[in-house]
Every structure is written in structure tokens, then in C-alpha cells.
């Protein structure tokens, strides 16, 4: 006869600081060596960094000479130049307008990330928000001075290029991905040609082509705004990559899912919209977010056709003869801005993955 065994606690402590240390940092001799190496590296790097960036830094200097006298970082440079970095060449007195526009854009993006907002009225919010952004940036009505978009710059411009780049390229990329898997040879060939052609060309050359070559092909007297041309180039470029990411997701969906949908009598749009794409897109959230992050950062390439995005306005801020030599501070500042946006995207994608997890798939 079998005897009953009581439930016992595990032999070694599984929780507490000591167990945590042992499990995470000293689980094997190699890991112990790596841990100690890392600690040593941090000890070498961190103290001087903290000293430079915080302890000996100058936050309040009025002139660059005052700043240079100290041995630490000159954050006073940022205090002097942040408006140029953030808003580029936008008329100084009107810079509240791009600020509000950027806040509206960020607000709308954040709102779109909240599942509670995923309702038809979100589209209304976007229409209203975009009108507000356009009015603020261009002006010309409501007593706002007209500001040409060649003067736009800095963070609002980067946000506009990235937001529209991603928002328009995404549906376009979906269509391309579905087209590439189409059974109709003409559609399939067209999509393959487009994707391979665009992917085979660097974004820089597409931006050049859009700014230099495109006007040659347009009829006399007809011109497209430079900013719009750059925006179109970014959209066309991103769409090809999105299409390939989506295609990867589509290939991960078992044939049975298509057959299940077919057997219910769903039509093509219903099958794709309700069954295939929701699953395929869930699979590709990680590469898709990597791609979005890349698009966000790649907007900085518009500098080569003379558009003052965040990166270019930072460079311009460094050319002031009165404040030369603080490029480290400037680049740390602008990197921090990029990082905040990209890291938020990354964190959000993780949350989305967790939210959409519905047990193991079949």
C-alpha cells in the first residue's frame, strides 16, 4: 500500500536576496567571472561619467567661456539652444505652435495605443487632430501668421514624417503583402517587382530621386512640395519592408485556418480581416516594431535634401560661433529624445503582445 507523502518546502531557499544573487549572477563559474567582470567595468566607467554629467556639470552658464572653465558637461548649452534643436528654423515668436502641434500628435498616438479607444470615433479624433496640426503649423487663418513648410523643423517635423510614414505605409504594405501571395499572376508580379525594386535601393537615393528626379518628370509649372516629396519617398520605402514583414506572418498561419474560414463560407475580405491578418500581425509584432523604430530614426536622412528635422536642427545649433564645441552635450540631448520615443514603442509592443496572447496556438 502506498503511503501518503506530505507536501514539503523545496530543499534550498528559492527566494530572498541570496537566492536571487546565486541564481541570476553566480549560477556557474563562467557566470560568476562574467558578473565580476561586468561589475569591474561599471566601476571603471560610471564614476567618471557621473562626475562629468552631473557633479561637475554646468547647468546655468550664460556664456560658453563660463562653461569651458569647468571640467564637466555644459548643459547650459542645451538650455540656450533647446528651442532651435526642437523647432528648427520655425519663427522664434511662433514656436508655441509647433510645440502644441507636437503635443497633439503625441497625444493622438498615445490615445491610439489604448485599447479603450479602439472605436470608430478614433478616426474622428485623428481627423480633428490633423486639421489642428495643419492649422497650427501652416497658419494663415484664425489670425495665425502663415509659415512656409520649408521653415518647419526639429521634433514636430520628425514626428510628422514618422507618423505619416508609418500610418500610410502600413495599409499600403498590407495590400502589397496580400498581393504578393495572390493567385493572379499580374497582381503578384506587380507586387513582387515593387517590393524588390524598393528594397534594392537605399532610402537616401530614394530621397534624392524624389527631390531631384521627380520634378523632371512632372509637367511644366507643376510642382510638389519638397516636404511632401520626402514624405512620399519614406512611405514608398517603408511599405516595401512592411509588406515583407507581413508576408512572413502570413506564411506562419497554417493552411487549416484558411480552410476553416472557407468552410464557414466567409468571403476573401472577411477571411483575411477576421481570421488570417489578426493572427499574422500578432506573430510579426516584434519585427514590425523594429521596422517602425527604424523608420522613425531613418527620417533623419531627410537632411540630405535640406529638410531641418530633429537631427539637422541639432547640427545647426552647433554652428553658433558663440557656443562652439558642445557637440557631445547636443548629441546626448537629441539621442535622449530619440530614445524616449523608440523605447516607448518597444515597451508598448511588449504590452500588446501580452495582451493579445490567447494561449498556445494550433
Amino acid at each position: 500500500m502506498a503511503s501518503v507523502t506530505e507536501a514539503l518546502p523545496p530543499p534550498n531557499p528559492q527566494s530572498g536576496p541570496l537566492a536571487w544573487l546565486r541564481e541570476r549572477l553566480f549560477s556557474s563559474p563562467l557566470n560568476a567571472i562574467l558578473t565580476m567582470l561586468s561589475v569591474w567595468l561599471l566601476l571603471m566607467v560610471l564614476p567618471p561619467l557621473v562626475e562629468w554629467a552631473l557633479i561637475r556639470a554646468n547647468f546655468t552658464a550664460e556664456t560658453s567661456a563660463e562653461c569651458r572653465a569647468g571640467a564637466g558637461a555644459c548643459w547650459a548649452f542645451i538650455a540656450q539652444k533647446y528651442r532651435l534643436i526642437l523647432f528648427g528654423l520655425y519663427p522664434f515668436d511662433e514656436q508655441w505652435r509647433p510645440l502644441v502641434a507636437a503635443l497633439i500628435l503625441i497625444g493622438m498616438i498615445v490615445a491610439s495605443c489604448l485599447p479603450a479607444m479602439w472605436k470608430p470615433r478614433l478616426i474622428l479624433l485623428w481627423v480633428a487632430g490633423l486639421v489642428a496640426v495643419a492649422v497650427l503649423m501652416w497658419g494663415g487663418i484664425l489670425g495665425l501668421r502663415y509659415v512656409e513648410d520649408t521653415l518647419w523643423g526639429g521634433l514636430p517635423l520628425t514626428l510628422i514624417l514618422a507618423t505619416f510614414g508609418i500610418a500610410v505605409a502600413f495599409p499600403f504594405g498590407l495590400v502589397l503583402a496580400l498581393g504578393r501571395r495572390s493567385k493572379m499572376p499580374a497582381i503578384k508580379t506587380l507586387c513582387v517587382l515593387y517590393i524588390e525594386l524598393i528594397r534594392g535601393v537605399p532610402l537616401i537615393s530614394m530621397l534624392f530621386m524624389s527631390s531631384v528626379m521627380l520634378p523632371l518628370f512632372l509637367p511644366e509649372g507643376f510642382s510638389i512640395d519638397k516636404l511632401l516629396r520626402a514624405q512620399i519617398a519614406i512611405i514608398l520605402f517603408a511599405a516595401a519592408y512592411i509588406a515583407e514583414v507581413v508576408r512572413g506572418g502570413l506564411q506562419a498561419i497554417p493552411k487549416g485556418q484558411y480552410e476553416g474560414a472557407d468552410s464557414l463560407g466567409l468571403n476573401y475580405a472577411q477571411k483575411m480581416g477576421f481570421i488570417i491578418l489578426p493572427q499574422a500581425l500578432k506573430v510579426v509584432i516584434p519585427p514590425m516594431v523594429s521596422l517602425f523604430i527604424a523608420v522613425f530614426k531613418d527620417t533623419s536622412l531627410v537632411v540630405i535634401i535640406g529638410i531641418y528635422d530633429l537631427m539637422q536642427s541639432t547640427k545647426v545649433s552647433l554652428t553658433d560661433p558663440a557656443w562652439r564645441g558642445f557637440s557631445i552635450e547636443a548629441y546626448i540631448f537629441v539621442s535622449a529624445i530619440y530614445f524616449i520615443f523608440c523605447f516607448s514603442m518597444s515597451k508598448y509592443s511588449k504590452a500588446l503582445e501580452d495582451r493579445l496572447a490567447t494561449g498556445h496556438k494550433r
Binding site: 480552410e259 476553416g260 472557407d262 468552410s263 464557414l264 463560407g265 489578426p278 490567447t358 498556445h360 494550433r362
Partner: protein, 235 residues
């Protein structure tokens, strides 16, 4: 004689060079429960998958409930509305709850109001005895439970014909018996069922057996042992 629900006339199909269905002739009457059996690769699955156009036949005629399957999408849609299907691998939609799996077809294909479709779906879940799982996702259920959901999903469109492609192929013996019992109950309620299996025990329980070997029907016969059961069921 009443119009048969399925009428296959000289159906042929090739996979590349391979002649998988060779001149298939078969009629199924309304209210019948037949089993198509045969060895693996004999074409029996392909045959029933042709009936709702998951596979395309290249020669011959397939007429389901008076509508011929052609390349006309309207006919294909009409037939799929009348035909439910149960698969070996269930093919439930893992990102939708059990209830959503059941209501998707009725709401979007049959244009039923959501509340009505949900009420009906709950009835079908009770029919397959798992109403308490309605809010769960398929991945949280056992294989037998998933196949019950799949059967309920196929029934939710109130089809005139239920196709089952190895419905017990992925289940252990006990679950397989339960699922078979369920299908027999459903048949007794008036459904026409065409089932593919290579399990001889299950085949023996059918009203009529169709043997397929090398893409040809070699034998259509009543399963003798079942005679008594059938008369008892229909009594």
C-alpha cells in the same frame, strides 16, 4: 425519388500527374449518415474536400443540394452556406473565444443579429455539452473539447449537410467514442453526415460504408452490423 443532397457524377481530380480521384460516382440521400473509409492516401479526404470546394475537381459534376459546383463564386458561397465541416485538426480560430468561433459564420455569412447568433451558439454549445467554456480560447481546451467546439461551429450555420474529415483522428479512443456518439445524436436529430475515417470500429457504426482505394470507389454497402442499430435509431 427526392433530390439527393450530394450527387457526384464522374468526378476526376489530379495532383500534378497523380490521378487522385478516378471517375467517382456517388449519391447521398437526405438524412443519411455515411462513412467513407479506405487506406491513407486513397483520396477519401480529397473527395469530401471537393464537396465544399476546399479542393477543385477537374472533370465531372458535383451537385450539392441542387446547385452545381463551378468556378462561379456565387455557387461556391451558396454551397458553403449549406455545408458545415469538421476537420481532423479542428481548425478553430485561436485568437477568438469559443463563442466568437461559433458566431462568426452566422453573423457575417448568414447576417444574423449578434444577440440572436450568440443565443443560438449557446444552444449549440449546450448540445455538445460544453456551454461553460464559451468565454475561453480554443488553446485552453482539451482536444476532445476543441472538437466539440468545432462540431458546434459547423452546426451553428444550420447546414443541411455536415462533412467530417477524420473527426476523431487526433483524439484518444475514449474521446473519439464520445465525439462519434455526438455525431450520431446529431444525425438522429435529422442532419445528413458524410464522414471520412480509417478507423474500422467507427466505420462499422455507420449506416452505409463507401470504400475508396486508389481514388476509386470499390464498394458501397450497408454496414451489416449496423442494421439493427439503424432501425432502433429511426424507430
Amino acid at each position: 425519388m427526392a433530390q439527393p443532397i450530394i450527387d457526384l457524377q464522374g468526378v476526376n481530380k489530379w495532383y500534378g500527374e497523380f490521378h487522385v480521384l478516378r471517375n467517382i460516382n456517388l449519391t447521398v440521400a437526405r438524412g443519411e449518415r455515411i462513412v467513407i473509409c479506405g487506406p491513407s492516401g486513397s483520396g477519401k479526404s480529397t473527395m469530401i474536400r471537393c464537396i465544399n470546394r476546399l479542393e477543385e475537381h477537374q472533370k465531372g459534376h458535383i451537385i450539392v443540394d441542387g446547385t452545381e459546383l463551378t468556378n462561379d463564386l456565387k455557387n461556391i458561397d451558396a454551397i458553403r452556406r449549406e455545408v458545415g465541416m469538421v476537420f481532423q485538426h479542428f481548425n478553430l480560430f485561436p485568437h477568438l473565444t469559443v463563442l466568437e468561433n461559433l458566431t462568426l459564420g452566422p453573423i457575417w455569412v448568414l447576417k444574423q443579429p449578434k444577440a440572436e447568433a450568440e443565443a443560438a451558439a449557446m444552444k449549440y454549445l449546450e448540445r455538445v455539452r460544453i456551454p461553460e467554456q464559451a468565454k475561453k480560447y480554443p488553446g485552453q481546451l482539451s482536444g476532445g473539447q476543441q472538437q466539440r467546439v468545432a462540431i458546434a461551429r459547423a452546426l451553428a450555420g444550420s447546414p443541411k449537410l455536415l462533412l467530417a474529415d477524420e473527426p476523431t483522428g487526433n483524439l484518444d479512443t475514449q474521446m473519439a467514442r464520445a465525439v462519434m456518439q455526438l455525431l450520431e445524436d446529431i444525425h438522429r436529430d435529422g442532419a445528413t453526415i458524410v464522414m471520412v475515417t480509417h478507423d474500422p470500429e467507427l466505420a462499422a457504426r455507420a449506416q452505409r460504408n463507401v470504400h475508396v482505394i486508389d481514388g476509386q470507389i470499390v464498394d458501397v454497402g450497408e454496414a451489416p452490423r449496423l442494421h439493427m442499430n439503424v432501425s432502433r435509431l429511426s424507430a
